[in-house]
């Protein structure tokens, strides 16, 4: 693996995505500020969570579809004219896209946790649920990335993004109804139950599995352009 060329390609994608990244980060931080300023009003909290989730899922879809765009905009022959193998290209796309998204994700998740901890309006017991749902967004994004990379199809990428968004609601609803998580959400302390740890582990395993499958499928492809 030529890490030099992979790094150059990641930096290229970072540069191409930077206006979108800055806009999403700015909007996310603005939303957190607005939620804090609303002093824990229920409607503000609900709206804030919806906006943040939309930013993350939307940005995830946009960043992850960069491989589809590379083909659609016919820049793939230019990239593949460089001294790079297709596996190195795949690595740069997956690692680069997930890294860009991860930085945004981490910034917004940290901001959300900080808002909960610093302001007196929110119960600290909400944090495990927030973390599980944030990692679920990471799972959805990894799924979009895997589908985008392997199918290079805009239709499939859009379809998976929509299904992922719907699944996120279902997962959130189900987790909130689990007694070991739901009953502690409004409490004053953070409680990591064995169920919440298990769900987090399962989510990270799913992320690893999807990335692994994406690499496996790519390594078996014979035609790239």
């Amino acid at each position: 693996m030529n890490t030099f060329i992979v790094t150059r390609l990641i930096l290229k994608d970072w540069y191409l995505n930077r206006p979108l990244f800055v806009a999403a980060l700015f909007t996310g931080l603005l939303t957190l500020g607005a939620v804090s300023a609303a002093k824990g009003t229920q409607i503000a909290v609900i709206l804030g969570v919806i906006v943040l989730a939309t930013i993350l899922i939307g940005m995830g879809a946009v960043i992850m579809s960069s491989m589809v765009n590379e083909r659609r905009q016919q820049t793939l022959p230019f990239v593949m004219s460089l001294p790079v193998s297709y596996l190195e290209y795949t690595t740069s796309k997956l690692a680069g896209s997930l890294l860009i998204f991860f930085v945004l994700w981490l910034a917004l998740l940290s901001g959300m946790i900080a808002t909960i901890l610093v302001t007196p309006w929110f119960p600290h017991g909400l944090i495990p649920f927030i973390v599980i749902m944030a990692v679920e967004i990471l799972v959805t994004t990894s799924l979009i990335a895997a589908v985008s990379v392997t199918t290079e199809s805009q239709g499939w990428t859009i379809g998976v993004t929509q299904v992922g968004g719907l699944a996120l609601n279902a997962v959130g609803f189900s987790i909130a109804r689990m007694p070991s998580i739901g009953h502690t959400m409004s409490g004053p302390t953070i409680q990591w139950s064995s169920a919440s740890i298990f769900i987090l582990l399962a989510e990270f395993m799913l992320i690893a599995l999807m990335i692994g499958i994406a690499f496996y499928v790519q390594s078996r492809k014979r035609d790239f352009v």
């Binding site: 150059r8 820049t75 022959p77 460089l82 352009v225």
Partner: protein, 298 residues
Amino acid sequence: MTDLAVQFAGVTKKYPHFALTDIDLELSTGGIMGFVGANGAGKSTTIRILMGLVHQDCGTVDVLGHAMPMQQAVAKRDVGFVSEDMRLYGPLTLAWHMNFVRSIYPGWDQRYAEDLLRRFDLKVEQKIKGLSHGQRVKAALLLALARRPRLLVLDEPTTGLDPVARREVLSELMAVLADEERTIFFSSQNTLDVEQISDQITFIDRGRIIESANKESFLDRWRRMRLMLPPNAVLPRLPGIVEVGGSARLPVLTVSRFEPAMVAACQDAGVAVQAVDAMTLEEIFIVNVQNRREREVA
């Protein structure tokens, strides 16, 4: 160390509705191969295999001594590639693209790049999306040439260019030819372009190589013989007659293996040779393809 820059041996690639069959090609270091074929003949597929972007089903491909597609990353360090369907990043400037490519290729020649900027009349600060098609092709060519590649692979680079832009691109290619170590593989539908710059010509049709030889040999071997056949005279049996046209009294023979002795053979048979015309590469290509297709049908 081989003196072949490109070597295809028995390469086959099958798709549901198209097959590239038994491709054998050899391009020596420093040679310029014009790869001519109609739309859908298999030019781009061959070039994609050459670049390692498509894996052949069978056969071997060596580029600059590297087996493709396995060693494509190493081989492409010395290859400059420009294709008609290649686009640069629209929102970014030419300067960004130059810096990007320069950061990857240690052999990037900045002085030459600046020289090409002037010759192509390109502005580095201009965004790619603001360039015309001709300017985009020139920008892609600049990015490929300034790497100082040992092998330049051009897939229909002049398609869609206006006559002025086409001439500029071709004249720059001619200048590149001054470097005898540089090898060029140039595909085009435009036989005039190929005739201008190539020293070796390969025709491809329906996924098969139908002829490959050096340009002079092509142009020397193919002739149109305009004859006048007196009553009761019979055309002599001549080698390499590809097509017989004209009328019964004034036949026109297209021959692929012309020799001056053919004129004498006609005259000995009482047939008057009115003219022996040289053929353009386009005429040779068309007759060659038609002849092959007719033979396939038969």
